[in-house]
């Protein structure tokens, strides 16, 4: 059988060896914790504490403010020091709740966990909504919305995105190895919401140990299958994952539900398990701290809100001064100018590099080599779109399917002339999306 994959894509140096064999270690924050009110797609959460309040670990400090929104929980005990704008990884200043950590980690009294069998579909979705779970692969879309499509009986596949196609990232890999039971448990919870669905654990074949382990654990589960995907970036892109697994292709304006699919990332599925089976809201996430500037690359279990400085310290500090620090993977992460930003629900990695490919490669003229066309998983012509974007030719941009770009970065990666194709296309897309919203 041909391997499950898609057309296009690239094979960058994956750098996963740096941290893949490092077991997940918990980091206890020492300094202040910062909780941006916008850690998800949708309306920012509303703070329900005020300056001076004492909060406990696991206490809700901000509630969802609209349909597409998500609550936020304190991850330490301490005092609310301020509610003020703080800088986040994107460089924006976002209104945030700052909690001074008292180091006691005093927890709230956890509500009693109701037996799974007694829960209705609405109960489960409500628990997931209240636990503040959002897509932890990077997009941060509230998970309960993904789990409540218009016609749940039409969902045929619940896919767990275990591709982890971004170079350097090993957090999902460690989770799969260390907590496979919770992963499968979370998948079962999701499956219980869709009567006609089968569960698929989609793993890239560069993680044969995970595939074997998950297959072993699910061999008696008729509704769950483990599928090996060809290792290629961006296999973890939602639309390309669905295509690889089911052969159904959706465009940028369709939803996974249109292809009968629901897709969630590893960490998200484990968070679903923690919420429904153990009654815990989303408070932690796994962050890979890695790169050639880091003394001891690690995988950390981090309390959301922890400052990035503490993560680097915990990883032994810098062995060589970094030149570039990326929050997230090297293909789609955000370059940050300093470490003074908090870990959020969507921070998957902290990558510290001693050299910056981008700044020492001068862009030169396009030689029409066609590498971007071959690499583009969206099957568009990046060179043409970039031309349209640079000349602000909206009509041409839209006509040539500019909105179908998934901003994966493959075109910029392969370009021999080192042109910032993704960047210009992305800017133009942002402008078009904003325009659409206004209408």
């Amino acid at each position: 059988m041909a391997k499950l994959t898609f057309i296009g894509g690239i094979h960058p140096y994956d750098g996963k060896d740096l941290s893949k064999d490092k077991p997940i270690r918990e980091v206890l924050p020492k300094g202040d914790l910062v909780y941006p009110l916008s850690q998800h797609i949708g309306a920012p959460a509303n703070p329900i504490v005020k300056k001076g309040d004492r909060v406990l670990t696991g206490q809700k400090i901000a509630e969802a403010s609209g349909f597409v929104s998500s609550p936020i929980y304190a991850t330490v005990s301490g005092t609310v020091k301020a509610i003020e704008p703080r800088r986040v990884v994107t460089g924006d200043n976002v209104m945030s709740i700052v909690v001074e950590n008292d180091g006691l980690y005093e927890e709230v009294e956890w509500p009693e966990v109701r037996p799974f069998e007694e829960l209705t579909r609405e109960d489960k979705i409500n628990i997931i909504k209240e636990a503040g779970i959002v897509g932890m692969g990077g997009a941060g879309f509230p998970t309960f919305i993904k789990l409540s499509p218009k016609e749940p009986e039409k969902i045929e596949y619940v896919i767990v995105n275990c591709a982890e196609c971004e170079p350097y990232l090993t957090s999902d890999y460690r989770k799969m190895l260390e907590e496979p039971d919770k992963l499968i448990g979370g998948l079962k919870v999701s499956l219980s919401l869709f009567e006609n669905a089968r569960g698929i654990l989609a793993v890239e074949d560069n993680k044969p140990d995970c595939i074997e382990r998950l297959r072993e654990l699910t061999k008696d589960e008729p509704k769950i299958a483990v599928k090996a995907l060809k290792t290629k970036y961006p296999q973890g892109s939602e639309r390309h994952l669905i295509y690889a697994v089911t052969g159904r292709a959706i465009n940028s304006s369709q939803l996974p539900a249109d292809a009968g699919c629901v897709v969630n990332n590893v960490d998200t599925v484990i968070a679903i398990y923690n919420a429904v089976m153990e009654g815990r809201p989303l408070m932690h996430r796994i962050v890979t701290v890695t790169g050639d500037a880091i003394a001891e690359p690690c995988n950390f279990k981090v309390r959301i809100g922890t400052n990035y400085h503490e993560l680097v310290e915990e990883a032994g500090g810098f062995k060589t001064p970094p030149v570039k620090i990326v929050s997230g993977g090297p293909m789609m992460g955000f370059g940050i100018f300093d470490l003074d930003v908090p870990t959020t629900k969507t921070s998957s990695a902290l990558l510290c590099m001693t050299k910056d490919d981008v700044s020492y490669m001068e862009p030169s003229a396009c030689i029409n080599c066609g590498k971007c066309v071959e690499a583009c998983p969206g099957r568009v012509v990046p060179r043409l779109l970039a031309d349209c974007a640079e000349h602000y030719d909206e009509e041409g941009f839209l006509k040539n399917n500019g909105m179908e770009c998934c901003e994966c970065g493959c075109c910029s990666y392969v370009c021999p002339a080192k042109r910032p194709l993704t960047q210009v296309i992305k800017s133009m897309r942002k402008m078009q999306l904003a325009k659409k919203k206004k209408k």
């Binding site: 292709a249 465009n251 910056d356 700044s359 003229a365 029409n368 993704t422």
Partner: protein
């Protein structure tokens, strides 16, 4: 705040392939053909090659200096143009032909249209055709001390027998770089292995040309006639090194197949029905001109809109 990190839009890593590395690979891939040309035609060939490359590089440098533009000779594209042009000259050509050709290729075909990436036809071929028209007798003089007869293709056209083994090895009259099929194929394999070129254009070009020969060549399925046509003239050099020129070929996959077929048919028409034995240069140049049209009609469909399978 001196310890601020560098920031930029994603992606934060880049592949190691650069314009310069691609151009250098092409230069290296042309060395077997050039080397054989020098072995075959002697010192004259070496001098012509050096003069042509010096001219193209110097022309680009001087033009950019005069226009106060950044100097781009470091990307080796001018070297590729010079080398390709030289390989398309007969070894008997005087040095000033090389200079005129080099200046025309870089100044007229490349720089005046906006420099690298903007030229609408292959500079080396453009210059060759210009020289062919302007200095026909010089450009068609293949008589050297070693080779006193006609080129194999001309002989073939006249109905004479040709020695195919000599043609494959390259021991025939012709331009400096076109005679040895083996040397060209070695270079082409190097580029194919590196992934600099692929078989889409050369493959469809050669296959459609062979089919054209079978249908209209007047010899039916005659292996000797077909191999002579494949090994003779500028076909190999054209198919692997000039039709595949990034700038002047379609960027879309489907477009590349179409382009290859178009070139094959056109070359067949020129060689079989035209007055001259040759046809590759003109076929590719005409092909270059219809590239925008081909690209327009072969734009791929997006993922999720029917394009996910191609």
């Amino acid at each position: 705040m001196s310890d601020l990190m560098k920031v930029s839009s994603n992606p934060h890593i880049r592949s190691k392939v650069t314009t310069k590395s691609i151009m250098l690979a092409v230069v290296v891939a042309l060395l077997p053909a050039a080397g054989f040309g020098i072995y075959n035609f002697g010192l004259d060939a070496l001098i012509l090659i050096l003069v042509t490359i010096a001219t193209t590089v110097l022309t680009e440098y001087l033009y950019e200096k005069a226009m106060h533009k950044p100097v781009t000779i470091g990307d080796f594209s001018a070297v590729v143009t010079g080398l390709l042009l030289a390989l398309n000259l007969p070894s008997t050509a005087p040095w000033w032909i090389a200079v005129i050709g080099g200046v025309f290729a870089i100044l007229v075909v490349k720089m005046l249209f906006g420099g690298l990436g903007q030229n609408f036809m292959n500079p080396a071929l453009g210059a060759r055709c210009f020289l062919l028209i302007s200095y026909t007798s010089i450009m068609c003089n293949f008589q050297t001390d070693t080779y006193t007869g006609a080129t194999p293709l001309a002989a073939l056209k006249a109905g004479e027998d040709v020695n195919i083994l000599d043609m494959v090895i390259g021991r025939t009259a012709g331009t400096i770089g076109e005679t040895s099929m083996i040397a060209i194929v070695i270079g082409a394999c190097f580029l194919l292995l590196l992934g600099v070129i692929d078989l889409r254009i050369p493959g469809t070009y050669l296959v459609s040309f062979i089919i054209f020969l079978i249908l209209f060549g007047g010899h039916g399925v005659d292996p000797a006639f077909i191999s002579a046509h494949l090994a003779g003239g500028g076909l190999m050099l054209g198919a692997f090194f000039m039709a595949t020129d990034y700038v002047t070929r379609p960027i879309t996959k489907k477009g590349q197949y179409l382009y290859g077929i178009f070139l094959g048919v056109l070359t067949g028409i020129f060689r079989i029905f035209g007055p001259s034995a040759e046809g590759v240069s003109y076929a590719i140049i005409i092909g270059n001109l219809i590239v925008p049209l081909i690209e327009k009609v072969t734009l791929p469909k997006a993922f999720g809109k029917g394009g996910e399978r191609s």
